[in-house]
Protein backbone atom coordinates (compact mmCIF):
# COMPACT_ATOMS: atom_id res chain seq x y z
CA UNK A 1 0.00 0.00 0.00
CA UNK A 2 2.49 2.65 -1.11
CA UNK A 3 -0.71 4.44 -2.16
CA UNK A 4 -0.90 5.65 1.46
CA UNK A 5 2.49 7.35 1.07
CA UNK A 6 1.32 8.92 -2.18
CA UNK A 7 -1.99 10.06 -0.64
CA UNK A 8 -0.04 11.67 2.22
CA UNK A 9 2.07 13.44 -0.37
CA UNK A 10 -1.08 14.78 -2.07
CA UNK A 11 -2.26 16.12 1.31
CA UNK A 12 1.13 17.72 1.93
CA UNK A 13 0.91 19.45 -1.47
CA UNK A 14 -2.62 20.69 -0.64
CA UNK A 15 -1.49 22.10 2.71
CA UNK A 16 1.51 23.79 1.13
CA UNK A 17 -0.65 25.28 -1.64
CA UNK A 18 -3.20 26.48 0.95
CA UNK A 19 -0.45 28.48 2.64
CA UNK A 20 0.96 29.80 -0.64
CA UNK A 21 -2.26 30.54 -2.50
CA UNK A 22 -4.46 31.36 0.52
CA UNK A 23 -7.44 29.04 0.51
CA UNK A 24 -9.11 27.23 3.37
CA UNK A 25 -10.90 24.35 1.80
CA UNK A 26 -10.30 21.88 -1.02
CA UNK A 27 -13.31 20.43 -2.84
CA UNK A 28 -11.75 18.68 -5.77
CA UNK A 29 -8.27 17.49 -6.69
CA UNK A 30 -7.46 16.81 -10.33
CA UNK A 31 -4.68 14.25 -10.46
CA UNK A 32 -2.97 13.11 -13.62
CA UNK A 33 -2.19 9.43 -13.17
CA UNK A 34 -0.42 7.76 -16.07
CA UNK A 35 -1.82 4.31 -16.86
CA UNK A 36 1.69 2.82 -16.57
CA UNK A 37 2.38 4.35 -13.15
CA UNK A 38 2.71 1.82 -10.35
CA UNK A 39 -0.49 2.91 -8.64
CA UNK A 40 -3.76 1.12 -8.05
CA UNK A 41 -6.38 3.88 -8.64
CA UNK A 42 -8.95 2.46 -6.23
CA UNK A 43 -6.36 2.02 -3.48
CA UNK A 44 -5.22 5.62 -4.02
CA UNK A 45 -8.78 7.00 -3.75
CA UNK A 46 -9.37 4.92 -0.61
CA UNK A 47 -6.10 6.12 0.93
CA UNK A 48 -6.84 9.74 -0.03
CA UNK A 49 -10.21 9.63 1.74
CA UNK A 50 -8.56 8.13 4.81
CA UNK A 51 -5.63 10.54 5.12
CA UNK A 52 -7.70 13.67 4.41
CA UNK A 53 -10.44 12.79 6.92
CA UNK A 54 -9.83 15.62 9.44
CA UNK A 55 -8.19 18.10 7.13
CA UNK A 56 -8.87 20.99 4.75
CA UNK A 57 -9.67 18.36 2.11
CA UNK A 58 -12.18 16.26 4.02
CA UNK A 59 -14.86 15.00 1.67
CA UNK A 60 -12.94 16.30 -1.36
CA UNK A 61 -13.15 14.34 -4.59
CA UNK A 62 -9.99 12.95 -6.06
CA UNK A 63 -10.51 12.97 -9.80
CA UNK A 64 -8.12 10.86 -11.79
CA UNK A 65 -7.19 11.84 -15.32
CA UNK A 66 -5.59 9.09 -17.31
CA UNK A 67 -4.05 10.24 -20.56
CA UNK A 68 -3.04 7.35 -22.83
CA UNK A 69 0.53 6.12 -22.48
CA UNK A 70 2.79 6.55 -25.49
CA UNK A 71 5.74 4.44 -26.45
CA UNK A 72 8.15 4.04 -29.28
CA UNK A 73 9.45 0.75 -30.63
CA UNK A 74 13.05 -0.02 -29.70
CA UNK A 75 13.49 -1.83 -33.01
CA UNK A 76 11.64 0.08 -35.74
CA UNK A 77 10.96 3.39 -33.98
CA UNK A 78 7.21 3.25 -34.58
CA UNK A 79 5.21 5.35 -32.09
CA UNK A 80 2.15 3.72 -30.51
CA UNK A 81 -0.17 3.62 -27.51
CA UNK A 82 0.97 1.33 -24.69
CA UNK A 83 -1.71 -0.40 -22.63
CA UNK A 84 0.84 -2.02 -20.34
CA UNK A 85 4.56 -1.91 -19.60
CA UNK A 86 5.11 -4.75 -22.07
CA UNK A 87 2.78 -3.83 -24.94
CA UNK A 88 4.74 -4.86 -28.05
CA UNK A 89 5.04 -2.73 -31.16
CA UNK A 90 1.92 -3.32 -33.31
CA UNK A 91 4.08 -3.11 -36.44
CA UNK A 92 7.04 -5.40 -35.77
CA UNK A 93 6.39 -6.90 -32.32
CA UNK A 94 9.49 -5.29 -30.85
CA UNK A 95 9.72 -4.05 -27.26
CA UNK A 96 8.62 -0.50 -26.49
CA UNK A 97 10.40 2.38 -24.84
CA UNK A 98 8.03 4.36 -22.62
CA UNK A 99 7.64 8.01 -23.61
CA UNK A 100 4.74 8.90 -21.33
CA UNK A 101 2.28 7.22 -19.02
CA UNK A 102 4.16 7.21 -15.71
CA UNK A 103 2.85 10.60 -14.52
CA UNK A 104 1.65 11.19 -10.95
CA UNK A 105 0.92 14.90 -10.78
CA UNK A 106 -1.56 17.16 -9.00
CA UNK A 107 -2.73 19.29 -11.92
CA UNK A 108 -5.18 21.72 -10.37
CA UNK A 109 -7.55 22.15 -7.47
CA UNK A 110 -11.05 23.41 -6.84
CA UNK A 111 -10.88 25.40 -3.62
CA UNK A 112 -12.74 27.98 -1.56
CA UNK A 113 -12.26 30.11 1.52
CA UNK A 114 -9.75 32.78 2.40
CA UNK A 115 -6.53 32.31 4.26
CA UNK A 116 -6.62 29.20 6.40
CA UNK A 117 -8.35 30.05 9.66
CA UNK A 118 -10.51 32.94 8.40
CA UNK A 119 -13.11 30.62 7.03
CA UNK A 120 -15.19 28.46 9.32
CA UNK A 121 -14.61 25.64 6.93
CA UNK A 122 -10.85 26.03 7.05
Amino acid sequence: MHEVSLAREILRILQEQARMQGFGRVHRVHLELGPLSCVDPEALIFAFEAVTADTLARGARLELHRPPARGTCRHCGHGYTMDSLVTPCPRCGGPGRILSGLEMRVRDLEVSGGHAGTSREG
Binding site: Q17, V86, R105, V106, E110, V111
Partner: protein
Protein backbone atom coordinates in the same frame (compact mmCIF):
# COMPACT_ATOMS: atom_id res chain seq x y z
CA UNK B 1 -21.30 36.46 -0.36
CA UNK B 2 -20.98 36.25 3.44
CA UNK B 3 -18.26 34.04 4.83
CA UNK B 4 -20.29 33.22 7.95
CA UNK B 5 -23.43 31.74 6.48
CA UNK B 6 -23.08 32.10 2.76
CA UNK B 7 -25.88 34.62 2.25
CA UNK B 8 -25.49 37.34 -0.33
CA UNK B 9 -26.34 41.02 -0.37
CA UNK B 10 -29.48 40.45 -2.40
CA UNK B 11 -31.23 39.19 0.74
CA UNK B 12 -34.61 40.94 1.29
CA UNK B 13 -33.89 41.22 5.02
CA UNK B 14 -32.67 44.49 6.45
CA UNK B 15 -31.33 45.24 9.91
CA UNK B 16 -31.83 48.77 11.18
CA UNK B 17 -32.97 49.56 7.70
CA UNK B 18 -29.66 48.60 6.23
CA UNK B 19 -27.50 45.73 5.27
CA UNK B 20 -27.33 42.48 7.17
CA UNK B 21 -23.64 43.03 7.43
CA UNK B 22 -22.32 45.83 9.65
CA UNK B 23 -19.53 48.15 8.46
CA UNK B 24 -20.00 47.04 4.92
CA UNK B 25 -18.91 43.51 5.74
CA UNK B 26 -20.45 40.68 3.90
CA UNK B 27 -19.82 42.37 0.60
CA UNK B 28 -16.31 43.08 -0.46
CA UNK B 29 -14.56 41.33 2.43
CA UNK B 30 -16.19 38.07 1.75
CA UNK B 31 -16.55 38.23 -1.97
CA UNK B 32 -15.07 35.23 -3.61
CA UNK B 33 -13.97 33.53 -0.42
CA UNK B 34 -16.75 31.00 -0.33
CA UNK B 35 -16.99 30.77 -4.06
CA UNK B 36 -15.26 27.84 -5.51
CA UNK B 37 -12.38 28.65 -7.72
CA UNK B 38 -9.93 26.63 -9.68
CA UNK B 39 -6.20 27.04 -9.13
CA UNK B 40 -3.35 25.47 -11.08
CA UNK B 41 -0.77 23.47 -9.11
CA UNK B 42 1.27 21.14 -11.37
CA UNK B 43 3.02 19.32 -8.52
CA UNK B 44 4.60 15.91 -9.00
CA UNK B 45 3.88 13.44 -6.21
CA UNK B 46 7.41 12.11 -6.26
CA UNK B 47 9.11 15.51 -6.51
CA UNK B 48 9.96 15.72 -2.81
CA UNK B 49 11.32 12.16 -2.68
CA UNK B 50 13.27 12.76 -5.87
CA UNK B 51 14.83 15.92 -4.40
CA UNK B 52 16.01 13.93 -1.37
CA UNK B 53 17.26 11.21 -3.73
CA UNK B 54 19.28 13.77 -5.71
CA UNK B 55 20.80 15.08 -2.49
CA UNK B 56 21.72 11.52 -1.45
CA UNK B 57 23.29 10.86 -4.85
CA UNK B 58 25.35 14.05 -4.65
CA UNK B 59 26.51 13.01 -1.21
CA UNK B 60 27.52 9.55 -2.47
CA UNK B 61 29.27 11.03 -5.50
CA UNK B 62 31.22 13.55 -3.48
CA UNK B 63 32.30 10.75 -1.11
CA UNK B 64 33.09 8.58 -4.16
CA UNK B 65 30.82 5.88 -2.79
CA UNK B 66 28.87 3.56 -5.06
CA UNK B 67 25.40 2.93 -3.62
CA UNK B 68 23.14 -0.02 -4.41
CA UNK B 69 19.46 -0.38 -3.57
CA UNK B 70 18.60 -4.07 -3.07
CA UNK B 71 14.94 -4.91 -3.65
CA UNK B 72 13.02 -8.19 -3.64
CA UNK B 73 10.10 -10.03 -2.13
CA UNK B 74 10.57 -11.21 1.47
CA UNK B 75 12.73 -14.33 1.73
CA UNK B 76 14.60 -14.11 -1.58
CA UNK B 77 17.93 -14.13 0.25
CA UNK B 78 18.94 -10.46 0.09
CA UNK B 79 20.58 -10.56 3.50
CA UNK B 80 22.26 -13.90 2.79
CA UNK B 81 23.63 -12.44 -0.46
CA UNK B 82 24.85 -9.38 1.41
CA UNK B 83 26.55 -11.45 4.12
CA UNK B 84 28.27 -13.63 1.49
CA UNK B 85 29.34 -10.51 -0.43
CA UNK B 86 30.61 -8.64 2.61
CA UNK B 87 32.59 -11.62 3.86
CA UNK B 88 34.46 -11.67 0.55
CA UNK B 89 35.01 -7.90 0.28
CA UNK B 90 35.66 -7.06 3.91
CA UNK B 91 39.12 -5.60 4.42
CA UNK B 92 39.55 -4.92 0.70
CA UNK B 93 37.26 -1.93 0.24
CA UNK B 94 35.25 0.29 2.62
CA UNK B 95 31.75 -1.13 3.15
CA UNK B 96 28.57 0.09 4.79
CA UNK B 97 25.01 -1.20 4.95
CA UNK B 98 21.58 0.32 5.55
CA UNK B 99 18.96 -2.27 6.46
CA UNK B 100 15.24 -1.66 5.96
CA UNK B 101 12.57 -3.73 7.68
CA UNK B 102 9.24 -2.99 9.29
CA UNK B 103 10.45 -4.32 12.64
CA UNK B 104 13.50 -5.84 14.44
CA UNK B 105 17.24 -5.27 14.30
CA UNK B 106 17.89 -8.82 13.10
CA UNK B 107 19.29 -7.99 9.70
CA UNK B 108 21.59 -5.24 11.00
CA UNK B 109 22.85 -7.73 13.61
CA UNK B 110 23.57 -10.29 10.87
CA UNK B 111 25.52 -7.66 8.93
CA UNK B 112 27.46 -6.41 11.98
CA UNK B 113 28.51 -10.00 12.67
CA UNK B 114 30.61 -9.77 9.48
CA UNK B 115 32.43 -6.76 10.94
CA UNK B 116 30.76 -4.26 8.58
CA UNK B 117 28.99 -1.16 9.93
CA UNK B 118 25.21 -1.29 9.55
CA UNK B 119 22.27 0.97 10.35
CA UNK B 120 18.77 -0.46 10.70
CA UNK B 121 15.75 1.58 9.57
CA UNK B 122 12.48 0.27 10.97
CA UNK B 123 9.60 1.60 8.89
CA UNK B 124 6.88 0.50 11.33
CA UNK B 125 3.85 0.11 9.09
CA UNK B 126 5.72 1.53 6.09
CA UNK B 127 6.12 -0.82 3.14
CA UNK B 128 9.19 0.76 1.52
CA UNK B 129 12.22 2.93 2.21
CA UNK B 130 12.25 6.51 0.98
CA UNK B 131 15.09 8.86 0.12
CA UNK B 132 14.51 11.07 3.16
CA UNK B 133 14.95 8.15 5.59
CA UNK B 134 18.03 6.91 3.75
CA UNK B 135 19.58 10.40 4.00
CA UNK B 136 19.20 10.33 7.78
CA UNK B 137 20.52 6.77 7.98
CA UNK B 138 23.66 7.98 6.16
CA UNK B 139 24.22 10.50 8.96
CA UNK B 140 24.89 7.50 11.21
CA UNK B 141 27.43 5.95 8.85
CA UNK B 142 30.98 6.74 7.96
CA UNK B 143 30.93 6.77 4.14
CA UNK B 144 34.53 6.29 3.15
CA UNK B 145 36.05 7.07 -0.24
CA UNK B 146 35.90 4.42 -2.99
CA UNK B 147 33.58 2.29 -0.89
CA UNK B 148 30.32 0.49 -1.44
CA UNK B 149 27.04 1.25 0.31
CA UNK B 150 24.34 -1.43 0.24
CA UNK B 151 20.79 -0.37 1.03
CA UNK B 152 18.59 -3.38 1.67
CA UNK B 153 15.02 -2.29 1.06
CA UNK B 154 11.93 -3.66 2.79
CA UNK B 155 11.05 -7.08 1.33
CA UNK B 156 8.25 -6.15 -1.07
CA UNK B 157 8.10 -6.60 -4.83
CA UNK B 158 5.59 -3.76 -5.34
CA UNK B 159 5.91 -0.63 -3.23
CA UNK B 160 9.64 0.19 -3.30
CA UNK B 161 9.52 0.51 -7.11
CA UNK B 162 8.33 4.11 -7.14
CA UNK B 163 10.85 5.50 -4.67
CA UNK B 164 14.31 6.50 -5.86
CA UNK B 165 16.70 6.40 -2.91
CA UNK B 166 19.58 8.10 -4.68
CA UNK B 167 21.46 4.84 -5.19
CA UNK B 168 23.45 4.36 -8.42
CA UNK B 169 21.99 0.92 -9.02
CA UNK B 170 18.81 -0.92 -8.21
CA UNK B 171 19.49 -4.63 -7.79
CA UNK B 172 16.53 -6.99 -7.83
CA UNK B 173 17.04 -10.33 -6.09
CA UNK B 174 14.74 -13.14 -7.18
CA UNK B 175 15.05 -16.70 -5.89
CA UNK B 176 14.25 -19.77 -7.97
CA UNK B 177 11.68 -20.88 -5.38
CA UNK B 178 9.50 -17.88 -6.25
CA UNK B 179 8.52 -18.81 -9.79
CA UNK B 180 9.84 -17.81 -13.20
CA UNK B 181 6.85 -15.64 -14.14
CA UNK B 182 7.56 -12.92 -11.56
CA UNK B 183 8.84 -10.32 -14.07
CA UNK B 184 5.52 -9.99 -15.89
CA UNK B 185 3.61 -10.25 -12.59
CA UNK B 186 5.59 -7.44 -10.98
CA UNK B 187 6.63 -5.38 -13.99
CA UNK B 188 7.25 -2.08 -12.21
CA UNK B 189 10.05 -3.50 -10.13
CA UNK B 190 11.68 -5.32 -13.05
CA UNK B 191 11.38 -2.29 -15.30
CA UNK B 192 13.19 -0.05 -12.83
CA UNK B 193 15.97 -2.44 -11.73
CA UNK B 194 19.26 -2.38 -13.61
CA UNK B 195 20.58 -5.68 -12.28
CA UNK B 196 18.84 -8.98 -11.58
CA UNK B 197 20.31 -11.58 -9.24
CA UNK B 198 18.68 -15.00 -9.57
CA UNK B 199 19.48 -16.55 -6.21
CA UNK B 200 19.23 -20.03 -4.63
CA UNK B 201 20.58 -21.64 -7.78
CA UNK B 202 21.49 -24.70 -5.65
CA UNK B 203 17.74 -25.41 -5.34
CA UNK B 204 17.13 -25.34 -9.09
CA UNK B 205 17.06 -29.16 -9.48
CA UNK B 206 14.22 -29.32 -6.96
CA UNK B 207 11.87 -26.69 -8.42
CA UNK B 208 10.16 -25.98 -11.74
CA UNK B 209 11.91 -22.75 -12.57
CA UNK B 210 12.71 -21.96 -16.20
CA UNK B 211 15.76 -19.68 -16.04
CA UNK B 212 15.65 -18.76 -19.73
CA UNK B 213 11.94 -17.91 -19.61
CA UNK B 214 12.40 -15.78 -16.51
CA UNK B 215 15.34 -13.91 -18.01
CA UNK B 216 13.49 -13.34 -21.29
CA UNK B 217 10.58 -11.76 -19.40
CA UNK B 218 12.94 -9.58 -17.38
CA UNK B 219 14.80 -8.42 -20.50
CA UNK B 220 11.53 -7.69 -22.23
CA UNK B 221 10.77 -5.21 -19.44
CA UNK B 222 14.29 -3.88 -19.28
CA UNK B 223 16.68 -4.75 -22.13
CA UNK B 224 19.59 -3.08 -20.25
CA UNK B 225 19.33 -5.40 -17.28
CA UNK B 226 22.49 -7.22 -16.18
CA UNK B 227 21.69 -10.74 -14.94
CA UNK B 228 23.56 -12.92 -12.43
CA UNK B 229 22.74 -16.52 -11.59
CA UNK B 230 24.13 -17.51 -8.21
CA UNK B 231 23.72 -19.21 -4.89
CA UNK B 232 24.58 -17.04 -1.89
CA UNK B 233 24.57 -20.23 0.18
CA UNK B 234 27.09 -22.28 -1.83
CA UNK B 235 28.95 -19.37 -3.40
CA UNK B 236 28.28 -20.63 -6.93
CA UNK B 237 28.22 -17.75 -9.42
CA UNK B 238 29.30 -15.14 -6.87
CA UNK B 239 32.41 -14.20 -8.78
CA UNK B 240 30.64 -12.48 -11.68
CA UNK B 241 28.51 -10.59 -9.19
CA UNK B 242 31.56 -9.46 -7.24
CA UNK B 243 33.33 -8.39 -10.44
CA UNK B 244 30.35 -6.27 -11.40
CA UNK B 245 30.22 -4.72 -7.92
CA UNK B 246 33.86 -3.82 -7.93
CA UNK B 247 33.95 -2.60 -11.52
CA UNK B 248 32.88 0.94 -12.29
CA UNK B 249 33.89 2.40 -8.94
CA UNK B 250 34.03 5.31 -8.43
CA UNK B 251 31.10 6.92 -10.23
CA UNK B 252 32.90 10.00 -11.47
CA UNK B 253 31.44 10.03 -14.99
CA UNK B 254 29.72 13.06 -16.36
CA UNK B 255 26.02 12.69 -17.09
CA UNK B 256 26.59 12.94 -20.84
CA UNK B 257 29.16 10.15 -20.77
CA UNK B 258 26.79 8.05 -18.73
CA UNK B 259 23.96 8.58 -21.24
CA UNK B 260 26.28 7.59 -24.07
CA UNK B 261 27.43 4.51 -22.15
CA UNK B 262 23.84 3.54 -21.45
CA UNK B 263 23.00 3.96 -25.10
CA UNK B 264 25.92 1.78 -26.08
CA UNK B 265 24.92 -0.92 -23.57
CA UNK B 266 21.40 -0.72 -24.94
CA UNK B 267 22.55 -1.15 -28.53
CA UNK B 268 24.64 -4.16 -27.56
CA UNK B 269 21.76 -5.68 -25.63
CA UNK B 270 19.30 -5.16 -28.49
CA UNK B 271 21.75 -6.85 -30.86
CA UNK B 272 22.16 -9.76 -28.43
CA UNK B 273 18.43 -10.12 -28.03
CA UNK B 274 17.81 -10.03 -31.74
CA UNK B 275 20.41 -12.77 -32.18
CA UNK B 276 18.75 -14.80 -29.45
CA UNK B 277 15.32 -14.33 -31.00
CA UNK B 278 16.66 -15.41 -34.35
CA UNK B 279 18.27 -18.49 -32.85
CA UNK B 280 15.05 -19.33 -30.97
CA UNK B 281 13.08 -18.90 -34.22
CA UNK B 282 15.42 -21.22 -36.11
CA UNK B 283 15.33 -23.80 -33.36
CA UNK B 284 11.52 -23.87 -33.16
CA UNK B 285 10.98 -23.96 -36.92
Amino acid sequence: MCTTCGCDDHSPLRIDGGSLHPHGQGQAHAAGQRERRSIPVEADLLARNDAHARANRERFDSARVRALNLVSSPGSGKTALLVATLERLSGEIPLAVIEGDQETQRDADRIRATGVAAVQINTGKGCHLDAHGVGHACDHLDLREDGLLFIENVGNLVCPAAFDLGAHHRVLVLSVTEGDDKPFKYPDMFRTADALVINKLDLLPHVDFDLAACEAQALRLNPDMVIFRLSARTGEGLEAWMDWLCAGRPQAQQADDRDEDELETLRRRVAELEARLQRAGLMSS
